[in-house]
């Protein structure tokens, strides 16, 4: 499965870079005010909304926003995430809020539609509480039922991100963000070990993958500066 993911990811990256050649040769000033933001994009993660509707064990939402500074984008995510698992031998619930902040770097500098293929870095933090009841039956130590709770647990982590954002119609943009999450550190896990951290996911491995499919609405501040001229061959 991971191999499939990696191959498909690389194919998409190459496909994204295969842009039509720009033949514009007019000399224009592209330097002035090029680092002033031209607009803010505000969106939401569609997958989280669908999962909340379709899955009994998940409820959550996520708001995403970014502001452009030429090819650099300040990206902020804020969300809510709750899991609820009920099995014969254990019940687990968690609920919390999280945010991420970071920078994306756009590699499609000459796209006339200002579409994005980006790589980025995020710093994430979550604050959550979780409860678990375990009904154990060990061969040696017998049966045991116990309840645990971590109130006000916190976690932080880093993410490498990549994805695309494509203008669909006027102010409407669609995009996806693939997230490679690592470096998870937690506090407040006093009674039990966390199974799931809002915004991060399962904690039983050193790294985690995340995926957002997002719809954005862009609010422009000012006209975008002209594109840089194409290099002559």
């Amino acid at each position: 499965m991971r191999s499939l993911f990696s191959i498909a990811f690389l194919l998409s990256a190459f496909a994204t870079f295969a842009q039509p050649k720009d033949t514009l040769t007019v000399s224009v000033d592209t330097v002035k005010n090029r680092f002033l933001p031209t607009g803010i994009r505000i969106g939401t993660d569609v997958i989280a909304l669908i999962k909340t509707q379709r899955q009994d064990d998940f409820k959550g939402w996520e708001i995403n926003a970014d502001v452009d500074f030429n090819r650099y984008y300040l990206a902020v995510d804020y969300g809510s995430w709750g899991r609820n698992f009920l099995t014969d031998s254990a019940t687990y619930q968690n609920d919390g809020r999280y945010w991420r902040v970071g920078v994306d770097v756009n590699f499609l500098l000459k796209d006339v539609e200002r579409n994005m293929f980006f790589l980025g870095l995020r710093y994430g933090r979550a604050r959550y509480n979780e409860q678990m009841t375990v009904i154990s039956d060990d061969d040696v130590w017998g049966a045991n039922t116990d309840s645990y709770e971590n109130a006000a647990a916190t976690a932080r982590w880093l993410e490498l991100t990549t994805g695309i954002k494509v203008k669909i119609y006027k102010f409407i943009w669609l995009g996806y963000t693939a997230r490679f999450k690592f470096g998870l550190k937690g506090k407040g896990q006093n009674e039990m070990l966390s199974h799931d951290v809002p915004g991060y996911g399962r904690t039983d491995k050193e790294t985690a993958w995340g995926f957002n499919y997002q719809i954005f609405f862009r609010i422009p501040f000012r006209p975008a500066p002209p594109l840089p001229p194409a290099k002559k061959k």
Binding site: S136, D138, D146, Y213
Partner: protein
């Protein structure tokens, strides 16, 4: 437009492909591997464990083999401490292990597991104990968490009989009598009197005959290992008198593991 839509479709499928589930086999890591070693050479020591009682009389383990160099024991998942009482060689040894046991939800298929970390020997009555790894194992198998060291025995000689004999009893007057078995043996370990420079040993054999052996030796006291304290060092072992056909000194000092000190022709 079609090309863009295909991208989103491909990446939606990839998101689903990333979901993998953990293996439910051997989730708890509560198996502690205990190895028995000699302090003198850090090599494996053989110990004859009769039984091991854990947390009072609640749980008892009886090893399958008569002698062991290592044993795997389960820690109590539901507490942060387990005390083992090891009965070996007619003696009882305590080993109290402290640790942190925390539950963690795994998946809807697997339920929860217990994760044990920070293993340490809180108290013990062995000669010496060292924690080799503070994270226990998830299943039986090789791997050592606790090393139990035995101090060298510096007052016990090894006697070898040229031909096998069946010994009923060995009496010394300074230690508890050693009861023999119906099985013929060619070697036997006999303690010396560490308070004097002479030991008298009386052998009673299966046919009722008795033989005497009187040994003389020099004694010194020295601290070989800090964990063992001051120990007697025996040297210049000699046979003063005996009622066997022959009794010859082969090694004048005591070693652990033992090598033949006295060779006897019945």
């Amino acid at each position: 437009m079609v090309k863009r839509s295909l991208w989103f479709l491909v990446f939606s499928l990839m998101a689903v492909s990333c979901l993998d589930q953990p293996d439910c086999f051997s989730l708890n890591n509560n198996i502690v591997g205990i190895s028995f070693k000699r302090l003198s050479n850090n090599r494996a020591d053989t110990i004859g464990i009769t039984r091991i009682i854990a947390d009072g009389a609640g749980v008892e383990f009886v090893p399958n083999d008569a002698v062991q160099t290592s044993v795997n024991l389960p820690l109590n998942l539901y507490t942060n401490s387990t005390t083992f009482v090891v009965e070996a060689g007619g003696q009882m040894y305590d080993l109290k292990l402290d640790y942190t046991s925390k539950a963690q939800f795994v998946s809807e298929d697997c339920g929860a597991k217990y994760v044990i970390t920070g293993l340490r020997a809180a108290s013990q009555t062995f000669d010496s104990v060292r924690v080799a790894s503070s994270t226990p194992k998830s299943q039986d198998g090789p791997g050592t968490n606790i090393e139990v060291f035995r101090c060298p025995n510096t007052s016990r000689i090894k006697i070898r009989f040229i031909s096998q004999v069946t010994i009923s009893k060995i009496e010394t007057g300074y230690s508890d009598p050693i009861t023999g078995s119906a099985t013929p043996v060619s070697t036997i370990l006999v303690p010396l009197n560490t308070t004097e420079s002479q030991s008298s040993v009386k052998f009673t054999f299966a046919d009722g005959t008795t033989k005497d052996l009187v040994l003389n030796y020099d004694r010194e006291f020295d601290t070989l290992f800090g964990a063992c304290g001051e120990q007697v060092i025996i040297s210049e072992l000699t046979v003063t008198s005996h009622t066997f056909t022959a009794a010859t000194v082969r090694r004048k000092a005591i070693q652990d593991p033992n090598q033949t000190n006295i060779e006897i022709t019945f």
